[in-house]
């Protein structure tokens, strides 16, 4: 095997001070939910492990995952990750086209069997293979060949993890996620439409650091980023508990940041890190900006709509118990029941939040 420079060598030779490198490792450890002892493990791994060759395919997709990836927000991360993982084939960014492009990923497959990671953006059409062709070969042919000697497969986003929008009913092209068309390789489903940039980078760092795939949930999503419901980590949760809801967009409740549950928020049935990591350098996330969660990190979320109907009245969805139980701490309730119950049990909280501006200003004035 060829001697490749380590991540640490690359970083420091690029003029990144060791202090910044350690800060990056600390941030990554926090993202990955590690104890502080885990930081040392990341530092050690990135200092000594060789660079990881990566082949990144685009199939039936919209390139939002690539776009999200280049938004990664920690200092120098976009640069570090683009260079440090040796992104040998990535159609959106690579210089070469045509047969020179194909030669790039074939070289990786030959030089580094068993060592490279295949990352996939997009679903694979199965109604007719010819619905997605690159260089005259079908997505399926390309993928099957590439995963044969891959170390692991990363399925970026909802397309590669669950088929996303093109797999929504009636799924005209027979779009399927990666794990449904290949076998014998571990597949990490990094969910979301797209996944949060820092989550994408977090998964890559996990692979680099621990040299194994992260712990996954039943849907093969990394637990470190998909074990919490958006509802449970929502900063507006107190409003839900207090029965304070937005009743129509831009009403008084909306202007005060009340809970968006009645506007169809799918936070109660969606597992993602939006409430914790947030988006684009922790600038905001959908709920903070006034729109309910549409559930984009869940398989089949397109067919769980309509988006603006709140959960208990969505036919056949069957989540009433979880959504309402967790919110109120009691049994199955109707939408009307939620408000009624909340008023009984959370009168004080309700008043506090609803009257906050007035009482706050009066106490300031005394």
């Amino acid at each position: 095997m060829e001697k490749r420079p380590t991540f640490y060598e690359e970083v420091t030779s690029d003029g990144v001070p060791r202090r910044d490198f350690l800060k990056f490792c600390t941030a990554m450890a926090a993202l990955l939910g590690l104890e502080s002892s885990g930081i040392g493990q990341i530092v050690k791994a990135l200092e000594t492990k060789p660079r990881l060759p990566v082949i990144w395919f685009h199939f039936q997709e919209c390139t939002c995952c690539s776009e999200s990836f280049i938004r990664s927000s920690h200092p120098a991360v976009a640069d570090i990750v683009l260079n440090k993982i040796s992104l040998d084939y990535q159609e959106t960014l690579m210089a070469a086209s045509g047969f020179q492009a194909e030669a790039a990923y074939k070289a990786v497959m030959e030089k580094f069997p068993g060592e490279y990671i295949v990352m996939v953006e997009g679903s694979i059409p199965t109604e007719d293979e010819a619905f997605c062709c690159i260089g005259g070969r079908s997505a399926l042919q390309i993928l099957e060949e590439a995963v044969k000697n891959a170390k692991a497969v990363v399925a970026w986003g909802n397309c590669a993890s669950a088929g996303c929008v093109q797999a929504a009913s009636p799924n005209p092209t027979g779009a399927k996620p990666v794990h449904k068309v290949i076998s014998g390789k571990p597949v990490i489903n990094v969910q979301g439409c797209p996944p949060i940039a820092d989550v994408m980078v977090g998964v890559v760092v996990h692979l680099l650091t621990f040299d194994r795939i992260p712990q996954l949930d039943a849907l093969n999503r990394p637990k470190s980023f998909y074990s919490r419901r958006v509802h449970d980590t929502c900063y507006r949760r107190a409003n839900f508990d207090a029965g304070l809801f937005v009743e129509s967009f831009d009403d008084e409740g909306a202007k005060r940041g009340y809970c968006l549950y009645k506007m169809g928020c799918k936070g109660p049935v969606t597992y993602n890190s939006c409430g914790i990591i947030k988006w684009n350098d922790s600038t905001s996330y959908p709920i903070q900006s006034g729109h309910g969660c549409i559930g984009c990190s869940e398989a089949g979320f397109w067919d769980n709509g309509p988006f603006y109907q709140h959960l208990p009245s969505v036919a056949g969805f069957g989540i009433e118990t979880t959504a309402d139980k967790i919110g109120i701490g009691l049994g199955v309730l109707t939408a009307a029941g939620i408000a009624g119950h909340a008023i009984v049990t959370n009168v004080r909280k309700h008043k506090e939040i609803a009257n906050e501006p007035e009482s706050g200003s009066s106490s300031d004035n005394t």
Partner: protein
């Protein structure tokens, strides 16, 4: 003897594009463009809630993210007769401006620059000379000798590692690269800076729409509320954040993008200012309403058509005239029930998928038969180019003072005639000038938003027709925008509160489509004719022209409506 060359995949674009060319004596004599992936989003939209459509069509493209969502809410509002409040229009304009700026910068540096900039050549540069050049063309502060020395060392290390990553197998050393090593170094430094920078301006989407890519939109307004006395709404902090992002964007565009564009153009203007012109017809739907979307004459970029490069006349685009826009499938893998030689208006949108191409793996497509997933749209039978060049030309020909000023200033700086715009380089330059104009317009929108709030208007939503019970039994409408890549239109029919038919005619459909029944080529194919090819094995010249359009194929190949529908009436707006 003709030599046939296949370029597939065309990289540094969105989506899957294949180009085949014929070269005779070092010159391209014929060209074919094919979209090679299909998803079928229109068919998926049928029978859904029209208020949800923005999210579905938003996923048509994640590069020009938000542009389809904007078009969709406009389309539904046009269909149902909803007027969003002025603040919603301004916030949408701010989001669309942020997209133009981010998308155009990324296109220039990350998707297009490597066609003009030889990365490996920068290793031979004298950083002191690069520093001198940088300081002579811009006051951007990162321009010291030490800075360029560091960038060069970084690239050297990268090249020596033997793992070139995204730069592997590029056309480095190709004879068509004309920049001195020092200018290459400058461009590579800014390639890396722009990569870090681009993630900033998109925060405008995150503030108003919660995330990027794929921010949230809302029929009737925008999802965010304004409340300057509340932490959980758009308040002074959020507004200042937005203002700051646009100020920074203006600085970056003025001090990095535009000086780089002019510097690079000055080395290529004599040949590439005359190559790649292609079609002579230009279409713009117009963008950035400042007095309501139903008053296109108030748009910052006007609506109109230029035919035969005649800049003395701008033809009117009418969304309610069924004779204006038609789509053909004579060379696309679909079939029409009345035969494939007819053109149909999108509302007659009858589309049945039928793949008749070769079975993969294949070496060549058969161009005597159908050869693409992209349909062929025409305006009054004419093949049209769409995109920033079309917008700047329609603006120029319409006599818009701000557009004329930047275009004329640039032509005079480069010392080239106005006809140099009709070229590969003209397309690339127009994109930069539009970005510059947009940074100024965005600050106007921003100031207007502040003024409205100061005057007590904080409304961001019109709820009047939110409830489907208020809708007519059947209604039809159209929404038009200018996506970063060109003229975009959505056509909608609502029946019994559900989507009966939803059709998209997108920019890359205009530009990348196969030939129509008259044999007329579309923009990509036409623009490649006559281009000299120095080395057929390394067709760098093809990439220059194709990339100058900023291809976005996922948009162009979305079309698939199994059942087909027939709508014979259009709504005027």
């Amino acid at each position: 003897m003709a030599e046939k060359i296949v370029i597939d995949p065309i990289t540094r674009i969105e989506g899957h594009l294949r180009v085949e060319i014929e070269v005779n004596n070092g010159v391209i004599t014929d060209a074919y463009s094919s979209g090679t992936m299909v998803r079928g989003i229109e068919n998926i939209l049928k029978d859904r809630d029209p208020r949800d459509a923005w999210a579905f069509v938003g996923r048509v493209c994640g590069v020009c993210t938000s542009t389809h969502s904007l078009t969709s809410v406009r389309t539904v509002e046009n269909t149902l007769g909803i007027t969003p409040p002025p603040n919603a229009e301004l916030i949408r304009n701010l989001m669309a401006s942020a997209l133009y700026i981010q998308d155009h910068v990324v296109h220039f540096y990350h998707l297009h620059a490597l066609d003009w900039v030889d990365v490996v050549s920068c290793l031979k540069a004298d950083p002191a000379e690069t520093s001198k050049i940088a300081q002579s063309i811009s006051k951007w502060p990162r321009s010291s000798v030490g800075y360029f020395t560091d960038v060069q060392a970084k690239i050297k290390k990268f090249v020596e590692s033997g793992q070139l990553g995204i730069f592997a197998n590029g056309y480095w050393g190709h004879s068509a690269y004309k920049l001195p090593a020092e200018v290459n170094l400058l461009a590579v430094a800014h390639y890396l800076e722009a990569l870090e920078w681009q993630r900033e301006i998109v925060k405008v989407h995150t503030i108003f729409g919660g995330k990027n890519p794929h921010p949230n939109y809302l029929v009737g307004g925008v999802p965010c509320s304004i409340n300057i006395d509340e932490a959980n709404a758009v308040n002074a902090e959020r507004l200042a954040f937005v203002g700051n992002l646009f100020e920074q964007a203006k600085t970056f565009v003025e001090q990095v993008y535009i000086p780089d564009l002019l510097a690079i153009a000055s080395f290529y203007k004599n040949d590439w200012g005359a190559i790649g012109g292609g079609l002579t017809n230009y279409l713009s739907f117009g963008e950035f309403p400042v007095n309501g979307y139903n008053n296109p004459e108030s748009f910052k970029i006007p609506r109109g058509v230029i035919l035969n490069r005649d800049l003395s006349k701008v033809h009117e685009v009418k969304s309610d005239d069924k004779d204006q826009i038609q789509e053909y499938v004579n060379n696309s893998w679909y079939e029409y029930s009345k035969g494939d030689s007819v053109g149909l208006h999108p509302w007659d949108g009858e589309t049945n998928i039928k793949y008749t191409g070769p079975r993969p793996p294949y070496e060549h497509l058969d161009f005597s038969k159908k050869y693409s997933w992209v349909k062929t749209p025409r305006w009054k039978g004419h093949a049209m180019e769409v995109g920033p060049l079309s917008r700047m030309l329609v603006g120029y020909a319409s006599g818009r003072a701000d557009i004329k000023e930047v275009v004329d200033a640039t032509l005079s700086k480069l010392n080239v005639p106005v006809t140099a715009l009709f070229s590969t380089l003209g397309r690339t330059a127009a994109r930069g000038l539009e970005t510059l104009l947009t940074t100024g317009w965005a600050l106007e929108f921003y100031q207007q938003l502040l003024a409205n709030i100061k005057n007590g208007d904080t409304r961001t939503m019109n709820n009047e027709k939110w409830d489907p019970e208020t809708w007519p039994k059947e209604a039809r409408g159209v929404g038009m925008t200018e996506a970063p890549r060109g003229a975009l239109s959505h056509f909608l029919v609502i029946k019994d509160k559900k989507i009966e038919n939803y059709q998209l005619v997108v920019p890359t459909t205009w530009n990348a489509s196969p030939r129509d029944p008259k044999g007329q080529r579309s923009a990509y194919e036409e623009s490649l004719l006559g281009t000299p090819i120095a080395d057929p094995k390394n067709p760098l010249e093809v990439l220059r022209t194709i990339h100058s359009f900023d291809p976005c194929l996922a948009c162009a190949v979305h079309i698939y409506d199994e059942k087909g529908t027939h709508i014979h009436e259009m709504k005027t707006y």
